[in-house]
């Protein structure tokens, strides 16, 4: 690791000021992407701004038809949350599949969403559920938030405060792991809301998380794994590496999507009528 200055602000405002003041500053949440990269000397921020001492950035709340999750909420907290398990079991399942138990004890929702790793799990949930990213400056709809691999709509001094997830009638997440890294080779989040059905895919895309309109159309006719039988997506633009070709990933997207729908169908319907969520 290169030398850096460590900061521990106690408010979001202080943290934002530090980001504004130092061009080469990085936020530190769980640290499970940044610290390994820094250990390899592949990142050299001059300033690290540790968010852990800021109150109010962590916690899970049911607000109307949405679940609001603080940016510093750990994966394990989402996985174990009764609120999430009752209302959005697929999201709890997703959180329980990130990394390993020790990683889930440190890694945070905000860190994952801010990083937008093309093989991370959370982006699929945000996009499929139509979540809203709430920052210290504004609210950003998931549709507008993800801008490509590792790129987001966040401005340099913008800090994620929380993410609100509209509750879906039915949702499912299935992940086919890269056996070595445990990141998603292909992860598919399927969400059925009264207004729409969304299918979001992580891990496969060269440019990060994406939706599959063809699958969504098919599922609108009937929300069943059978509706996806034989459907696949084009391989072009998908990741291709030593772990699997783009063709393999394209095929997996179909298979895993079917399984995600099956998982969604199996979960009992959540007894919350849902409507476009605004102003939470």
């Amino acid at each position: 690791m290169y030398a850096f200055t460590f900061h521990r602000p106690t408010s979001v405002r202080q943290a934002a000021n530090l980001l504004g003041k130092h061009e080469d500053a990085k936020l530190l949440a769980g640290g499970h992407t940044l610290l390994p990269t820094m250990k390899m000397r592949l990142a050299a921020p001059a300033h690290l701004v540790d968010l852990s001492q800021i109150e109010g950035l962590s916690g899970i709340e049911l607000k109307g038809r949405s679940i609001s999750i603080g940016a510093l909420t750990k994966h394990v907290e989402v996985a174990n949350s009764d609120v999430v398990k009752r209302n959005l079991p697929a999201l709890a399942e997703l959180a329980s599949l990130i990394g390993d138990p020790a990683v889930r004890h440190r890694g945070t929702l905000g860190g994952s969403v801010a990083n937008n790793d093309p093989t991370a799990d959370y982006p699929a949930a945000l996009l499929a559920l139509g979540a809203t990213v709430v920052t210290n400056k504004r609210k950003i709809a998931a549709d507008d938030y993800f801008k490509g691999m590792f790129e987001t709509a966040l401005e340099p001094d913008e800090i994620i405060v929380k993410v609100t997830f509209p509750i879906a009638k039915k949702a499912g997440y299935v992940k086919f792991r890269n056996p070595a890294s445990r990141y998603a080779m292909v992860g598919v989040f399927v969400a059925k809301r009264s207004s729409e059905i969304r299918v979001a895919v992580t891990g496969a895309g060269g440019n990060g998380v994406f939706r599959v309109p063809a699958f969504e159309e098919a599922l609108k006719k009937r929300f069943s794994p059978k509706s996806l039988e034989g459907l696949t997506i084009p391989a072009e633009g998908l990741n291709s590496d030593i772990h699997g070709s783009a063709e393999y990933r394209a095929h997996l997207v179909g298979v895993i999507a079917k399984r995600a729908v099956a998982a969604a169908v199996e979960t009992p319907e959540v007894a919350v009528s849902d409507a476009p969520e605004n102003g939470a």
Binding site: F4, K39, D100, P101, V103, H105
Partner: protein
């Protein structure tokens, strides 16, 4: 150099550290607690697992400064100064859950964390899934799984204070 203070195995400790010092370095080099090991640099092998505030974490992926004010427990704290072995330690020995011993401290700390989270009656399948962050190259995991199942049961009768020496 910034100062850092925390509680390790029940004792208050302080030290001046370079900001880039990892918790595992602080434990091994400053405190000479060398039972916590480093086996990889990508946060995967789990040889460095310790507990921070009662939860298993990989001490190679935490800065010492991030642990300021925290309660840290390491393998050395489970049976300090010749105290009787923690039931999980005893179970690893009884079930031959270790060979070279290098992954063992991390395994035991993860195992106790599994029990703390999931209770005393653990199925083999659960244990295997929960061990995804701990790599052992010697044992083929067979006896580790047995040891954790047995250790989990043995921890049942244990006084709460000894669940882990936080």
């Amino acid at each position: 150099m910034p100062a850092v203070a925390m509680t390790v195995n029940g004792k208050s400790v302080t030290g001046d550290v370079d900001a880039r010092t990892l918790l595992v370095q602080f434990l091994r080099e400053n405190l000479r607690l060398t039972g916590t090991h480093v086996g990889c640099d990508t946060s995967q092998c789990g040889a460095c697992v310790v507990h921070i505030d009662g939860k298993a974490v990989k001490s190679c992926t935490v800065l010492a400064l991030q642990a300021a004010g925290a309660q840290v427990a390491t393998i050395e704290g489970l049976a300090p100064n010749g105290a009787p072995l923690h039931p999980m330690q005893a179970a690893f020995r009884e079930n031959h859950g270790l060979q070279c011993g290098y992954c063992t401290p991390g395994m035991i700390m993860s195992a106790i964390d599994i029990v703390n989270r999931l209770g005393h009656d653990l199925e083999d399948k659960t244990i295997r899934e929960e061990l995804e962050g701990n790599i052992c190259r010697c044992t083929g995991y067979h006896n580790i799984v047995k040891a954790i199942a047995a250790g989990a049961k043995a921890m049942q009768g244990q006084p709460a204070g000894q669940q882990a020496a936080e």
